[in-house]
């Protein structure tokens, strides 16, 4: 069986997903694409030789098994509801929405329709981070006690993006909140967050911060620290370190290449891979393989709608913590 996809949204991430699904994922093919910007959809459609739907309705009318929702965040829930009603298995990029009530509306529609739903927290499929999670799950480090996550983008996005991003906690740290739940296997109880504007004053003027440190407490007693920044001169820095009663498991980064130059100035290695398209290629492909497998076999998707909701609540708590200068319990967020 081949799972036939319609890709909704053909921006940077949508066009990447379309290409991967059509060319590099066994058991999958793209049968149509859509974007509110017609030229974006036409470019991808021409590249892959697949149908271009002029409207969302047309896109959902294409005979297909699944959709990949890669539209702008504010449209995710409307698209999700429509796709659910059309009976499609749904892959939705993160975050589902920046509004918890909207998330609930989307999840209710999915549940009513009884269609599979997977939220695109791809980092769970990064082989290095996954090795850390597996080590914890298999008891290789005993009981987990502390989790440290470092997450630094190479450079900030345009201010126009910052302005609609929902803020650093729900745009960027949301991946790390998901990672914390994934690696510890435990829900978050409370959040303490500190933020700073260090990279670009314009980010501050847009009401956001660009540098932050967050501490989470988990139900199982684990403490998680997260440090995030919109800038890292040396490349995309993505590390997870789990510390437990019997040891430590940690993922490290990938350099541009694996070579060293040694002179009287010391040993030099290249910078890190620049950004997520390079670093997380394997995660995107493995995520698709897992989703396609779940759809094909009718088994649960790896990352559920509730997995998509929880990090949003943590992000809201982080924002409130930073604003009010105190730790915030997630139960304070309705």
């Amino acid at each position: 069986m081949t799972v036939r996809f319609v890709v909704l949204g053909c921006g940077r991430i949508g066009s990447m997903h379309a290409e991967y699904l059509h060319r590099r994922v066994a058991g999958a093919e793209v049968v149509g694409v859509f974007d509110v910007h017609a030229v974006a959809a036409e470019t991808v459609g021409a590249e892959l030789g697949v149908a271009v739907a002029p409207t969302l309705e047309d896109a959902l009318a294409i005979d297909a098994d699944a959709v990949a929702i890669c539209t702008s965040t504010d449209t995710h829930v409307d698209v999700m509801v429509a796709a659910a009603e059309a009976g499609r298995a749904i892959f939705c990029e993160k975050p589902i929405s920046l509004d918890a009530a909207e998330v609930d509306r989307g999840l209710a529609a999915v549940e009513a329709a009884g269609v599979p739903l997977h939220i695109g927290f791809n980092r769970r499929f990064d082989p290095s981070h996954k090795a850390v999670a597996d080590a914890v799950a298999h008891g290789a480090i005993g009981a987990i006690e502390v989790l440290n996550i470092t997450s630094r983008d190479p450079a900030p996005p345009p201010i126009a993006y910052i302005e609609v991003s929902g803020g650093i906690f729900n745009d960027m740290a949301i991946h790390d909140f998901d990672m914390a739940r994934y690696v510890t296997g435990s829900e978050v109880e409370s959040v303490y967050a500190l933020g700073r504007v260090r990279v670009d004053p314009a980010i501050g003027e847009a009401g956001d911060v660009d540098t932050a440190v967050i501490v989470l407490t988990h139900e199982n007693g684990c403490l998680t620290t997260i440090d995030i920044s919109r800038r890292a001169a040396y490349g995309y820095d993505q590390r997870v370190e789990a510390f437990g009663s019997e040891g430590m498991a940690a993922s490290t980064n990938h350099h541009d290449f694996n070579a060293v130059l040694a002179t009287d100035q010391g040993y030099r290695q290249p910078p890190l891979q620049n950004f997520f398209l390079e670093r997380y290629t394997a995660s995107y492909l493995d995520q698709w393989a897992a989703f396609v497998d779940a759809v094909e076999h009718g088994t649960p998707t790896p990352i559920s709608g509730l997995d998509g909701r929880a990090p949003l609540v943590i992000g809201m708590a982080a924002k409130r913590s930073m604003d009010e200068g105190r730790p915030v319990h997630v139960s304070e967020i309705t």
Copy 2:
């Protein structure tokens, strides 16, 4: 412009090349495939949705710009001559042939036809090895004095393959001889080789060795050591280290993933990537990009026919050295 390829030979390496050319190389597409085993060609043809030629003549009659010669080594030269006469730009897998006279026949046909020719020593395009070669070429380590190459396959091929391989020097070490010429930028003068049967007595019974150490002298005074083995329990081990008057440049391996587990037993990292399809993916893609660019712009291919011939002569000298227990000058090989 899109360079249209016919892929000749659809075994393991040919089917990989076909997929890469058709799906992952910008400016290239596959318009036909051929294999003496029809089922192999049909499988690849169906996967890519391209024409399957029943004979080599049919394959060369397809309207195309270039061929990728991935047939068995003993047929390379006949196919090369036919492709040259058909006016195709030629990519040929290594080695061109195990017979120097045959190589010369092929190169003569290519020269007569005036078509581009590139020999598939893909490791030159590995970003890590390339960084070493670039460091040498740019003077970052001063004048090169010593080059150490380690090249260990994870496990030996079937004995049936060993029997027609041409021996470890021209089947396996030929990549390393090319690497020595590439990194040092200097021709080889003499060869001293020692071989052992340590992995499988059946390899010895087939007249070959499975473990070898080779020392090369270069025209520029550099000394190269090569150690090769048909077996490495910890994965595919491919390293190059250049030592010069002002420093050292070295490429290292890729592990299965980049994570560590630390316990009271120490720190553990995963084994190396298992074999060349994983380790050298980037090199294959970058090689294709370079070849397609050369064909498109009419510029010289990166690895010429003479670059394909030289390692074969070094391999023959290595074999003679091992057999006679003495260093052999390459000029002794006619």
Copy 3:
């Protein structure tokens, strides 16, 4: 000139200092030792062949230039006052005291006497941590934005020690608070701390925690995270990572030896050096060299009395933060 020392306190750290001063520090010699446990002093005195003072008064009557105060923490200030009145240059182990008023009494006596004082935050002299601090100070990473400190002992001390230790923040994290001031070059403003009992319930019964995460804010805007534990199965884990506008500087650990074993199970390195006597040997020697140099030349000691006081206040703020579940400003600590 040789700086003549009397070593006061001959426990684990005092006997180490005595041996280093007498045998491995150029320009220093030990001329006497003292300990309230006579046998401890006699053992060291016999080993080094130096005078053993029966009382503190006798020890301070020995003709000497300096003292090394290595007695139990609760006696530091009394000894410091007596040594200051005796006109000795003073090296005092950390912490000066667990009571800020006591610290002030000691510092006042030192100031009144006009003698040099150095507090033994040896980690500043660890060549790896020092390289991080130097990188920050020299602008190699631009403006510092985030500092991450990991500090994990291999195993907890006896409960009897825990009971008089002053708690994990002032016993163990005090080194990390000093490191935060040292690397950032900026005073701490506020502290948020979370603690857990994960290693041994008896530590909790003694009123302490064994696992903690701390976040500091600095006057210069830097945010520091610290994670500490009384247990690390893989050895003594001591790392500092400074992240700034132009890069990152990080110190790493030392393994028991520098070798790797690679098999089909992966690559294995040995555990980390077990504890501070091994890891910080160079720091102790370099610290002595710096103190001896300051005494000999009448220049300021590298780590002043105020440098000894500040981390104590941070530790008190951390304790209060943990107890009250809120961030605490250091100005709240009188």
Copy 4:
């Protein structure tokens, strides 16, 4: 029991040994020193507070248990014979002599006297190299098949030293020949060596080379490659890599410190520890502990006189191989 040493020869290595024996080796003390240059002996004697013997005869008349022979190589055998006749346990720096007959004369005297003898191939006691040898001995890599040794000094010695050194093979590579016997646990059968003058023409004018590659065959079938140089811009490079049927064990170097600086220029680590006094401190101390233990308990010394002789023969074979351009069997060396 304390083993009382007289140190014979107070140059760079002798004064280091004297200090270690007197101050840092449990169960050992220095009771006298001697050097043909009186001032050298007096300096060390004053530093340690021990007797200075005006002549060798006086030195051997001092009541002692053992001698450390650290005089110039050409005097080793005469001193060894005298020390043996005086009944002293003997530690002798490498090489015993540059003349095999002289070596035999020394060993005969030792055997006649029945005194313990240990040859100072300290690298066997380097914890990292030892881990490789132990891995081989314990079967952790299966049967050893290939051994690669890299041995590069940071900078060449004075030409005056080169002129009396006995040549690069017996001065420098002799350590590596010993390492090859130690790690493989197998005698060397044949040697192939190539040498070049790349560092300093004056070395060539002195009749020596400064860069060399050597291949050894062993009785157990193992092949060893050695590359040595008198110059390495990035520090003292000392690595051993053993490859076997079930894996690989390798020792690596020590950097000046363990820290990294990451910027847009990449990751930078410091150069390697500059030379043997830093790199091999642990090996010298552990070697002394082992020798003292053997003397105290009357057990065999770890490195025998025959272990001192074998590398000399290999070095002679290497020289002949280089001169004659052919592999040389060690049995050709009388």
